[in-house]
């Protein structure tokens, strides 16, 4: 009894009293009947009848007890369902909110794309939040209110002005004042739902549009506020209608009964089920008031199907059919939803628009008949188009990104909580970057192969914010909606030359090297254990003699890099990789210098993030904060930075990475991207062209791309031939700031001659300007590589030969 609430106790005692008094009456009746029976019979059957009497009484009591237990059982079942369903909410996952401010790079088209994604209507009539109207070089918007982790945003009526691909002004049209900043509501791109594939957008009773409630009652259950769960008049009316039509045409179910039907989703129409349903309807009305029942109904009612996802409740249905929150729907939309209750699949507005329209208009007529709306309102609404969005909004659109969110959130939350607590997860996803990366990957790969093979080209893209480590986009498949193998997170592939910056960074940080230090690219043979010596070769099979250090990276020279690595020691290079943020065990062999190590695209991203961050490791984050269903902040994932690598050495390495794009293996990148961006990047190609990589960053964005085949067969692509194109297309549609490396204080730029490894002057044709840590620039000056430096060149060469021997 402890388990039962007080309310239930009193309720049980009432039941008990009722049943006992019934049993007593039965007993008394039996006694009086017996009194009239003949004396003889009494004598003869005295014994038996006493026994029977006792048995009869016991049987009645027993049946009563069974009935009570059954009712109690039903009661607990229905209460469990009611309470449980009220709280089992999937986690909602949001993209980053778009923040608008004057001066930002944003076109009116981009803003409208975002508003469309958010389900804003291109119509300001009615002045409701969630609408906008585009004008010439401006957009007027009524934003939605939204409660964020750090503060609440109110609905604003404002104007955004644009000029030359920039947002130039934000103006509050109500208060007639300029606005420094507007944060829009975030796009909800996924839900993490319970295993039975139900989704829900909970709408609290007081937030239900009153028109919806009135319409629902008018159409489904006119006596809702008058009955106790069952409506005798309704049943009679339905019965009469059914008899007239010689079949089931009308249901007499109240909203309460329908709610129970929805809970148990049983389709059979047996008498016993009907009785059970009726009993439960009465029970539920005993426990909960009409408002609670209506709220539960509105969140429970089944209204459609999206693949395996069942659409329950008006809140979700509003998102699913109209891409907007329920409170923004107007009369025709609400009428459509109310009409759907009768047959969600029969009246599906996407599959059967004509039927849906008829049903909607039927509902509108009914509402006018019952004076819920006026006849002219009904007429006007029935002229409106269906207004259903082409595809279901709110389903998980970005499975690869969601995969990253899940893997990060798992560290703090249990799977059950994610599925049932209605958590609000605020992620770092930038839909504009995500779409750009998705299109770039599928578009480029479609050009490279048709995708029809048994093992087509595949790929992965990760885009991040270089400033704070936020992951903006993740693509894990050339078909971005496939939620299978998330290559960005789990595909471990040889990285090839992508690893080389770590070798050069080690040299610049720990060795006595500058960007101009001569490195020998001549034939090399490395003893490895007892077997054949290892003879690394350059990609073009050519050897060069001495090259300045930065050219080794820019041209991705294998032999020079291995020689440099051997001089530094593999342990030091591994240490650098660790400082750059690579956590896994790395093989301590010289082949590591050429990237004979398997990493995921995400790990590579972390490594380049540290370079882009000027030597500060910034852990990649996909989540900003988690809030409870009712808006309480639970967890925030704050920005963390950790300086691990000497900023001077990182600066020099990044200059060399810019040289890769300016004049090295990635020089073709400037064909597709503005050369003014100063991209720092690196190509990566593995043996037999199995993997094609490109990693690169500009002022505020970093992207890493991998292209290859799942079975590790050759892709036939170099880094520049495959991944770099995807990278360029990804970045082409993202707004970028040029990369201006932050120059540390102890850096000086000096004109040098790369052939003589000496200082030079600007007027010499071959001279280039390189940065040096103060005091490390060459002292000898050459006159454009001519005579006066000759002696010192020989000296340098001899010196180097001496070292190498």
């Amino acid at each position: 009894m402890e388990l039962l609430g007080c309310e239930q106790c009193s309720y049980v005692s009432v039941l008990l009293v009722t049943f006992f008094s019934m049993a007593k009456k039965r007993l008394q009746k039996g006694k009086s009947r017996k009194r009239r029976s003949p004396e003889r019979e009494k004598e003869k059957n005295g014994h038996i009848s006493a026994l029977g009497r006792r048995l009869g009484v016991n049987a009645v009591l027993f049946l009563a007890l069974v009935a009570i237990l059954y009712v109690l059982y039903l009661d607990s079942v229905i209460r469990y369902e009611f309470e449980g369903k009220r709280w089992a909410l999937p986690a909602h996952v949001y993209a980053r909110p778009l923040e608008l401010f004057p001066g930002m790079h944003l076109t009116a088209e981009q803003l409208i794309d975002e508003l469309t994604l958010l389900g804003y209507r291109a119509n300001l009539v009615g002045g409701r939040p969630g609408s906008y109207s585009p004008g010439e070089d401006e957009v007027r918007i009524i934003s939605r209110p939204f409660n964020f982790w750090d503060s609440d945003e109110q609905s604003l009526f404002f104007r955004a002005r644009f000029r030359h691909k920039r947002l130039t002004q934000l103006y509050n049209l109500r208060e007639r004042a300029e606005l420094p900043l507007v944060r829009l509501d975030p796009y909800r791109f996924a839900t993490i739902s319970p295993s039975h594939h139900e989704d829900r957008v909970l709408v609290q009773g007081d937030r239900l549009p009153s028109l919806l409630v009135k319409a629902l009652i008018a159409v489904e259950d006119r006596q809702f506020y008058g009955h106790h769960g069952l409506d005798a008049r309704g049943i009679a009316r339905a019965l009469w209608a059914n008899i007239k039509a010689m079949g089931v045409v009308q249901g007499g179910s109240t909203l309460t009964q329908q709610l129970i039907k929805n809970y148990f989703l049983s389709r059979d129409r047996t008498i016993s089920r009907k009785l059970k349903e009726a009993a439960m309807a009465l029970l539920i009305e005993l426990h909960y008031d009409k408002g609670e029942i209506l709220e539960a109904y509105c969140n429970e009612v089944y209204l459609g199907q999206d693949g395996r996802r069942a659409i329950h409740g008006f809140g979700l249905a509003a998102r699913f059919f109209f891409g907007a929150p329920l409170e923004e729907l107007r009369l025709p939309d609400l009428a459509l939803l109310v009409g759907l209750v009768k047959g969600p699949s029969y009246f599906d507005p996407r599959r059967h628009p004509e039927r849906a329209r008829k049903r909607r208009d039927q509902v509108l007529t009914l509402l006018a008949e019952q004076d819920v709306i006026t006849a002219s309102e009904a007429r006007q609404a029935s002229e409106a188009p269906l207004g259903v969005t082409p595809r279901g909004g709110g389903s998980s659109r970005f499975p690869a990104f969601l995969g990253l969110v899940r893997s990060q959130i798992k560290q703090d939350y249990r799977e059950e909580d994610l599925r049932s607590e209605g958590l609000q997860v605020f992620t770092t996803l930038d839909p504009l970057a995500q779409f750009s990366a998705e299109r770039a990957l599928s578009g480029r790969l479609a050009q490279l192969d048709s995708g029809g093979d048994s093992d087509p080209l595949q790929g992965a893209v990760v885009v991040t914010n270089t400033g704070n480590g936020e992951v903006l986009a993740v693509v894990g498949d050339r078909k971005p909606h496939m939620a299978g193998f998330n290559r960005a997170l789990v595909a471990e592939r040889q990285v090839g030359s992508l690893i080389k910056p770590a070798v050069y960074l080690t040299a610049l940080a720990h060795g006595q090297y500058t960007l101009l230090s001569p490195v020998d690219d001549g034939p090399l043979s490395v003893e490895v254990g007892s077997g054949e010596p290892w003879r690394p070769r350059n990609f073009d099979q050519q050897h060069h003699d001495l090259v300045p250090l930065y050219r080794g990276l820019a041209e991705s020279l294998n032999v020079a890099t291995v020689r440099l690595g051997l001089d530094l020691g593999v342990k030091k290079v591994i240490n650098t990789l660790r400082e750059l943020g690579i956590k896994r065990e790395l093989p301590p062999y010289p082949s590591l210098f050429l990237g004979a190590v398997e990493l995921t695209p995400l790990e590579v991203t972390q490594m380049y993030q540290t370079l882009a961050g000027g030597g500060f490791v910034t852990p990649l984050r996909a989540i900003r904060a988690v809030m409870s269903a009712d808006g309480q902040p639970l967890h925030r994932y704050a920005l963390e930075v950790r300086q691990t690598v000497d900023p001077l050495a990182v600066y020099l390495t990044n200059v060399a990475l810019q040289e890769v794009v300016r004049s090295g293996t990635a020089r073709r990148l400037s064909d597709s991207l503005s050369s003014g961006l100063g991209v720092a990047g690196k190509t990566g190609t593995t043996n037999e062209l199995r993997d094609s990589w490109f990693a690169g960053f500009v002022g505020d964005r970093l992207a890493v791309v991998w292209v290859g085949r799942d079975n590790n067969a050759p892709s036939g692509l170099t880094g520049a031939g495959g991944a770099m194109g995807v990278w360029a297309d990804t970045m082409a549609h993202i707004d970028l700031r040029p990369l201006a490396l932050m120059q540390p204080a102890d850096i000086e730029w000096v004109w040098v001659d790369a052939k003589t490894f000496q200082a030079s002057t600007q007027r010499c044709a071959d001279a280039i300007k390189l940065p040096f840590v103060t005091g490390t620039a060459p002292a000898d000056v050459t006159d454009c590589g001519a005579n006066i430096g000759a002696a010192s060149i020989n000296k340098t060469v001899d010196w180097i030969k001496g070292i190498l021997e």
Binding site: E99, F101, P102, G103, M104, W149, D150, S151, P180, L181, R183, N465, T466, G467, N468, G614, F616, R624, A625, P633, R636, A638, L639, E640, V641, R642, Q643, P647, D700, M742, P744
Partner: protein, 184 residues
């Protein structure tokens, strides 16, 4: 509550405009009323060296107050976010203030002042190692801003002192002093 907030905003605006408010007024106006949020326990050496010209914990905490040079933040969005963060912090909501500053950082990722303010807030929350790291990050963007570099070095010095790295603290104090001198 509203009146207090309005008062804060008033002072703030005055400070940001760099007008009439004298330094003492600023100090009185923007009082950190709720010290309970500061969990840093001062270590003995913090108080033990009154004769040293070095910065103290209070110097770092004082950095949380707005200074006239904040008016130099040209981006209006960043300025309004920094102001919001100040108000949030004064109401004891430092976690929200950090979130707000991170928003500002998304607008201007290389603004050393935002990184510096983040460092100060982390310091107040006794997240010492992050405070020092953020201060270092701020310095990597500070360039010629000697005044800001000095402040960041003071934070680093304090953190090192409180984590027992005395030589490290001394060298950080030296660097702070050097930047302070050249800033004058």
């Amino acid at each position: 509550m509203n009146a207090i907030r309005r008062c804060y905003l008033g002072v703030l605006v005055a400070v940001l405009c760099g007008c009439a408010a004298s330094p003492t007024v600023q100090q009185q106006g923007v009082v950190i009323e709720d010290r309970s949020e500061v969990h840093v326990e001062p270590l003995p050496q913090d108080r033990a060296s009154p004769e040293s010209p070095l910065s103290t914990r209070d110097d770092v905490l004082a950095m949380a107050r707005p200074t006239p040079r904040d008016a130099g933040v040209s981006n209006l969005a960043v300025r309004s976010l920094i102001e919001t963060a100040l108000v949030q912090r004064e109401h004891g909501r430092s976690a929200e203030a950090i979130a707000t500053l991170e928003r500002a950082l998304r607008v201007e990722p290389r603004n050393p002042l935002i990184w510096h303010r983040l460092a100060v807030l982390r310091y107040e929350r006794a997240e010492l190692s992050q405070a020092a790291q953020l201060a270092a990050k701020s310095n990597s963007f500070a360039g010629e801003e000697d005044d800001l570099q000095a402040k960041n070095w003071k934070i680093i010095a304090q953190v090192r002192e409180q984590t027992g790295d005395v030589p490290g603290a001394m060298s950080a104090h030296d660097r702070a002093a050097r930047f302070e001198r050249s800033g004058e």
